[in-house]
């Protein structure tokens, strides 16, 4: 489509308005988290704090948020690591080896990618109860240990590696481990970055399952802990709650900024979540 300069300017302005609209709640959260508690609900509302303070962050941190944050890190980091490792292994077999049932397994993986596991909370609760995993960190993180999306994404990257490269490595005396480390890994780096971030984030943001299986304060993740703080918003100090929201977002945006190039690139070319 031919586009005139005026059209470009109009698009630009409209997009700027759009992004301002989408980012608005996040900006309110950010700026209000620096307001002293008396100012948070003060009338009339000011977008920026009149007096800046970071007291909310300290008070949030000392009211269990340190524990929630640690739980979130544990229940997000471990699944990220295992999803990557097992994703690469399975993907290598699916991309570069031939064996009976391969097509069927691939279909199964795609199906697992599309089916939301949340629909299974009722029987999962029963299962985890019989293994005494309710209200434990292991219970929270086990359903995320592997990712069908990860297998699929890794495979998409691996099928693009020429067979000759792998054959050459084999002739040079590389075993499976050698081939994966020396040939495969260097070629799928952007894929690993994307898989790492998406798995980390989906576990970091996970709500339904951790909410249902945690009962005490000890094992709540940030998502669940913050949610329980919201529902008591009227008797809790609201500034700390807003600070908690920011604390939950910071690692997300940190990772995004670090890896945004590979993320948007992969989505743009692969077009998959």
């Amino acid at each position: 489509m031919t586009t005139t300069t005026t059209q470009r300017y109009v698009s630009f302005v409209l997009l700027l308005l759009g992004i301002a609209f989408l980012a608005f709640p996040l900006l309110i959260l950010l700026f209000s988290s620096f307001k002293p508690n008396v100012e948070v609900y003060a009338f009339p509302f000011h977008f920026f704090p009149e007096r800046w303070t970071i007291a909310n962050y300290f008070s949030a941190w000392s009211s269990n948020l340190d524990r929630y944050a640690w739980n979130s890190v544990v229940t997000s980091a471990i699944p990220t690591l295992t999803s990557i490792v097992f994703g690469i292994l399975a993907a290598y077999a699916l991309a570069k080896m031939s064996f009976l049932g391969k097509g069927l397994i691939l279909k199964f993986i795609v199906l697992m990618m599309l089916v939301p596991l949340d629909i299974l909370v009722v029987p999962m609760f029963q299962l985890f109860k019989s293994f005494q995993l309710l209200d434990t960190l292991s219970g929270i993180l086990i359903p995320g240990l592997m990712s069908a999306f990860g297998v699929f994404l890794m495979r998409q990257f691996m099928v693009q590696i020429p067979d000759e490269l792998i054959e050459a490595a084999r002739i040079d005396g590389c075993g499976l481990a050698g081939i994966i480390v020396r040939v495969v890994l260097p070629n799928i780096k952007p894929g690993i970055a994307v898989l790492g971030i998406t798995t980390f984030l989906s576990n970091w943001n996970a709500f339904t399952w951790p909410f249902i299986i945690t009962s005490g304060d000890t094992n709540k993740t940030l998502a669940v802990g913050l949610a329980s703080m919201v529902t008591s918003i009227n008797n809790f100090n609201p500034g700390a709650l807003l600070a908690g929201g920011v604390i939950m977002i910071v690692p997300v945006f940190g990772l995004f900024v670090l890896f945004q190039k590979s993320i948007t690139q992969v989505y743009l070319t692969a077009g998959i979540k």
């Binding site: 489509m1 031919t2 586009t3 470009r8 698009s11 630009f12 997009l15 759009g18 992004i19 989408l22 709640p25 996040l26 309110i28 959260l29 609900y41 009339p44 509302f45 292994l89 399975a90 077999a93 699916l94 080896m97 064996f99 199964f108 697992m112 089916v115 939301p116 596991l117 629909i119 299974l120 009722v122 999962m124 609760f125 029963q126 299962l127 359903p143 592997m146 069908a148 297998v151 499976l176 984030l201 943001n205 709500f207 339904t208 249902i212 940030l222 998502a223 949610a227 919201v230 709650l241 929201g245 939950m248 977002i249 997300v252 995004f256 945004q260 948007t264 743009l268 692969a270 077009g271």
Partner: protein, 287 residues
């Protein structure tokens, strides 16, 4: 020959852990859920087989029917989000400078955790002293009981969904739009087709697979909305913001009717499967 056999064996070892995982975390619970749907189970006494009782109850459950209505109402945010994302993606595709910035910015907003957004929305729409009411009062307008009014409460829940998803779908559509063969457009402009006709007759048909995928993905995520409702309204006022999924969760974990909850989820999943299949078929037919 022995080489192939060895490779065969190795492949199963590599794929094994993932398959085993999904057998335990998906296949087994799925079968268990089907079994539960024919049982009555309250956590404390052993499950009891009750045949089709749960299904019969489900057919006569007027409350469930109401929740289905609310869920379908929530579904309306789907087309709105898709339309907004598509238009944004179209605008983005026209930029030759600054596209990378907007791409990252739009996608970035969709990464914000749901719970963090729920925190802000609670701050904004809290009925007594929320910021929106604060501003309304400041403008000498009457304050509104956002979360205590069934329709408004639903709207707030839907807005969170919009804010969470618009950026992602924009990037998804942009990837589709950028993949359209540019020569189709030049041919169309030679034929005198205007801009909107080009969008309607070239862009939309060309990105149909992306649209179908987006519609299905969005339907699934709307039908299992849970967190933002729990946090903002706890399902109220009068259960008017509950979805079918949330109703099932309450039946399971508040009323301890695991069997009936399983039945609801089984039927809901079947319904979701049917709807997805329907979207796929309708999408393909028009080709």
């Amino acid at each position: 020959m022995s080489f192939i056999k060895r490779e065969n064996w190795l492949a199963y070892v590599l794929v094994g852990p993932v398959l085993l995982f999904y057998a335990v975390i998906f296949v087994y619970p799925l079968l268990q859920m089907l079994l539960l749907s024919f049982q009555s189970y309250d956590f404390y006494t052993p499950p009891e087989f009750t045949g089709l009782d749960n299904y019969a109850r489900l057919l006569g459950d007027r409350e469930l029917l109401a929740k289905l209505g609310y869920t379908l109402f929530y579904w309306l945010i789907g087309p709105i989000t898709i339309a907004a994302s598509f238009v944004t993606a179209l605008l983005l595709s026209k930029l030759n400078r600054g596209q990378a910035f907007f791409r990252s910015a739009f996608y970035g907003t969709s990464m914000a955790p749901m719970v963090a957004l729920a925190v802000v929305f609670m701050y904004l729409f809290s009925p007594n002293h929320g910021i929106v009411n604060n501003v309304l009062t400041d403008l000498h307008l009457p304050a509104v009981e956002w979360l205590y009014e069934p329709l408004l409460a639903k709207t707030v829940v839907m807005s969170i969904f919009f804010f969470m998803n618009m950026g992602f779908y924009t990037i998804l559509f942009l990837s589709g739009i950028l993949g359209v063969d540019q020569s189709l457009y030049s041919a169309a402009s030679l034929d005198g087709a205007g801009r909107w006709r080009q969008v309607w007759h070239i862009t939309l048909p060309q990105i149909r697979p992306v649209m179908i995928f987006a519609t299905i993905l969005m339907t699934i995520s709307i039908f299992q909305m849970y967190g933002q409702i729990v946090i903002l309204t706890k399902g109220g006022p009068f259960g008017s913001t509950e979805t079918v999924f949330m109703y099932a969760m309450n039946k399971a974990f508040t009323d301890h009717q695991m069997g009936y909850a399983a039945t609801i989820v089984v039927v809901l999943s079947a319904l979701l499967g049917l709807i997805s299949y329907g979207i796929l078929k309708i999408g393909e037919e028009k080709e």
